[in-house]
């Protein structure tokens, strides 16, 4: 019996990419997992030792961790939810025929193309309590007498940063949904017209079901990205005032920058686990399509 010849060619082709991913992703992740079980604090290098689950126990009894966890849920639910809603509306509008559509489609992409650090700085000044353009506008419209310190009060700071992430993410949803809209067969709408369907009926029975896969994948991707987002909050508030805008990723970043790498790795591991729970349906969905 002839032995089946093994084809090494595909393995050789993926080898360079695999090596890069191994060194840049896998090894650091494994290192972070090890660190999460150690008192890996570079401010106290002589005290680095194996701790077991002590970092995790400390994490679950840390009130700032739970506040950050609650904020992360709010950040993702409102951030991604409203990005989707407004992105969907924008995509429906941009799918209509009107003069200058190409230019408006291009302009509407600007927030997505702008770096997060720049968005953070820009919105920080828009919201500024003393010289911000938003306050200036509200005062000139006669809606308020004195500037509102949007980012300096716990009652308004988190809402303000959520508005910023919504503004940034709308174009991404709009592009993805617009691409989906353009492949829906016009024949279905024509058939519905013949049957006397209303606009709402066409939206809920043709458009949305046809976009199901696009919507699921886009929402899942955005949940992962928004959960991991640090740049906007870090540049606008640094997580303050009074930890009111601190999400888990910002807390991890703040702890890591003061070199408490063990504790920040534990929280990162927890966040990774949470995101994996969201990512599994995404991966299952992706493989099911094959």
């Amino acid at each position: 019996m002839r032995r089946k010849k093994i084809n090494l060619w595909p393995y050789l082709l993926v080898l360079p990419a695999l090596l890069i991913v191994t060194f840049v992703v896998f090894i650091p992740v494994i290192e972070a997992i090890f660190m999460s079980f150690q008192s890996y604090d570079l401010r106290r290098p002589d005290k680095i030792a194996y701790l077991g689950f002590k970092n995790f126990a400390e994490m679950f009894s840390d009130p700032i961790f739970w506040l950050a966890f609650k904020n992360t849920i709010i950040w993702v639910v409102f951030g991604v939810g409203l990005q989707f809603l407004f992105g969907f509306i924008l995509a429906l509008l941009l799918n209509q025929s009107f003069r200058g559509r190409g230019m408006i489609r291009a302009v509407s992409l600007i927030p997505w193309a702008t770096p997060g650090v720049l968005i953070g700085l820009m919105w920080k000044w828009i919201y500024d309590g003393n010289y911000g353009v938003l306050n200036d506008l509200l005062i000139k419209l006669g809606l308020i007498d004195q500037g509102i310190t949007f980012l300096s009060q716990t009652s308004t700071a988190f809402g303000s940063v959520i508005v910023t992430i919504i503004w940034q993410g709308i174009p991404f949803f709009a592009i993805m949904i617009l691409a989906g809209l353009q492949v829906i067969s016009q024949e279905m709408y024509e058939a519905a017209d013949i049957d006397g369907a209303s606009k709402l009926q066409k939206l809920f029975h043709i458009t949305i079901p046809s976009l199901k896969n696009v919507i699921i994948i886009t929402i899942l991707l955005r949940i992962i990205w928004v959960s991991n987002s640090v740049d906007i909050i870090h540049n606008m508030t640094g997580g303050g005032p009074s930890y009111s805008t601190q999400t888990l990723s910002v807390y991890i970043f703040n702890k890591a920058t003061v070199l408490d790498l063990g504790y920040s790795s534990s929280m990162a591991l927890f966040l990774m686990f949470m995101l994996a729970m969201v990512a599994v349906p995404y991966l299952k969905n992706a493989f099911k399509e094959r």
Binding site: P16, G129, D145, P241, S242
Partner: protein
């Protein structure tokens, strides 16, 4: 077949290159670590030190500057040093933003990762972190054999030593900044208050200079430009000490009363509502736009204050209450253990400490010189801001330098104080949290 062979060779070459890059990086890092762990000069280092005198030496210098004028100034000082030193030393200045202390983190990460500079501008608070990781050169022998040693006061060396928690000197003094209170004489006149000489008078002045100037029912001028973001712990410390408190025991009644004063100023509307998140840029912008009557900073900003207000800006040292304290900022220089040119690096830091670099930098920036020769120059003796700084020297101090200090400054103090200012926690609870975070073992 030929195509497959070429593609195969290309893939193999890519893989070998990638592995080689990684292993080369590791071996370089290991070499650096070996040298720093040893703590003594290896033969190679000695050879390189000798060759410093004969060959051209290039040094990388990291620094930060508060504005573009100071950036140009530093580049000019570097250019002059490069032209005038007779030892073939060329300094390459690389500027990084201070970023509320983020500079020190960047410097540390670069140092640990093997990509740090030869010499860097440095703040004392970072000393334990850097020395614990063997990143800095011990300067004891260099200073003891230095002809200008006596030009710097002994107490400055002592503060530098205490910062490291050892008997060794790792930090070369460069300049200091003593915080004082800026005020607007025209606003004081309008409010009918004199320059405060006691802490109680200061609290009254803050209240009286808070004014509604156009009668629309809204405050137009706030008495005190409070800094609630990172860095605000320095002026805040003056309030704590003025009531008799200190940093060693922040839960004492006196310290809590100091915190209560700070809260009262905010709650009574004597500070801008944005104070909970106001940092350096905001307090300076508020003062320069006439929105605040007083704010705490140092001579680093005096040139731009005079440019804005002319004679309508002056300064006084933070007044005495039960106690008196003001923060002594410091900017120093350190030499990295990883440098191959330690002698040349010391030449450069000594030029900044007592040479022409000291004169040029302190005269232009308004910082307090560490060189007694430079301090005696007329320029420093006749300046009202420098006078307020010099009057503050006897009671100036620094925050306790512990391994918790960096986190305390960057995260704990701003968030805890914001909670207290916004009424989420009491002064007592805030001081309890601040004390525990700073002094945790």
């Amino acid at each position: 077949m030929m195509k497959k062979l070429i593609a195969l060779m290309f893939i193999l070459a890519l893989s070998v290159l990638l592995v080689a890059c990684v292993s080369n990086h590791n071996s370089t890092s290991n070499q650096d670590t070996d040298n720093s762990e040893d703590g003594t000069s290896t033969e190679t280092e000695q050879e390189e030190t000798q060759s410093d005198e004969e060959e051209e030496v290039e040094l990388t210098y990291w620094y930060w500057a508060d504005n573009s004028e100071y950036s140009n100034l530093m580049q000019d000082i570097i250019a002059e040093f490069n032209q005038t030193n007779d030892k073939g030393i060329t300094v390459i200045g690389e500027e990084y933003p201070w970023d509320g202390g983020g500079y020190s983190e960047t410097l540390f990460t670069a140092g640990v990762g093997g990509g740090g500079p030869d010499v860097a501008a440095f703040k004392l608070t970072s000393t334990p972190l850097f020395t614990a990781n063997d990143l800095l050169v011990n300067l004891d022998d260099y200073i003891n054999n230095w002809k200008d040693k006596a030009d710097i006061e002994e107490n400055l060396y002592d503060i530098m030593k205490s910062a490291s928690g050892t008997e060794n000197l790792y930090v070369m003094p460069w300049n200091t900044q003593i915080l004082y209170m800026y005020y607007r004489p025209s606003i004081f006149e309008k409010a009918g208050v004199d320059v405060p000489t006691t802490y109680e008078e200061l609290l009254t002045a803050i209240e009286k200079t808070t004014m509604d100037t156009d009668g629309d029912g809204n405050t137009d001028i706030y008495g005190f430009g409070m800094r609630g973001a990172t860095g605000g712990q320095e002026p805040w410390g003056s309030f704590i000490h003025a009531r008799g408190g200190d940093f060693k025991n922040m839960t004492s009644e006196e310290a809590i009363q100091g915190m209560q004063d700070f809260i009262d100023i905010y709650e009574n509307g004597y500070a801008p509502p944005s104070a909970t998140t106001d940092g350096f840029n905001e307090i300076i912008a508020n003062f320069k736009s006439g929105r605040t009557a007083m704010t705490v900073h140092h001579t680093g900003s005096s040139a731009e204050m005079v440019e804005t207000f002319g004679d309508d800006v002056s300064a006084f040292p933070f007044p005495e209450g039960v106690g008196q304290w003001t923060s002594m900022g410091d900017t120093n220089n350190v030499i990295f253990e990883s440098t191959e040119h330690k002698e040349a690096a010391f030449e450069w830091v000594s030029y900044l400490a007592t040479g022409k670099g000291q004169e040029d930098w302190t005269i232009a920036t308004g910082n307090v010189p560490v060189s007694t020769r430079v301090q005696e120059m007329d320029h420093f003796q006749n300046d009202k801001f420098m006078k307020a700084s010099i009057e503050g020297v006897p009671f100036a101090g620094i925050l306790p330098i512990k391994d918790t200090t960096t986190e305390w400054i960057s995260t704990v103090w701003p968030n805890t104080t914001a909670s207290a200012l916004l009424g989420d926690i009491t002064a007592e609870e805030a001081m309890q949290q601040l004390h525990e975070s700073l002094h945790e073992e």
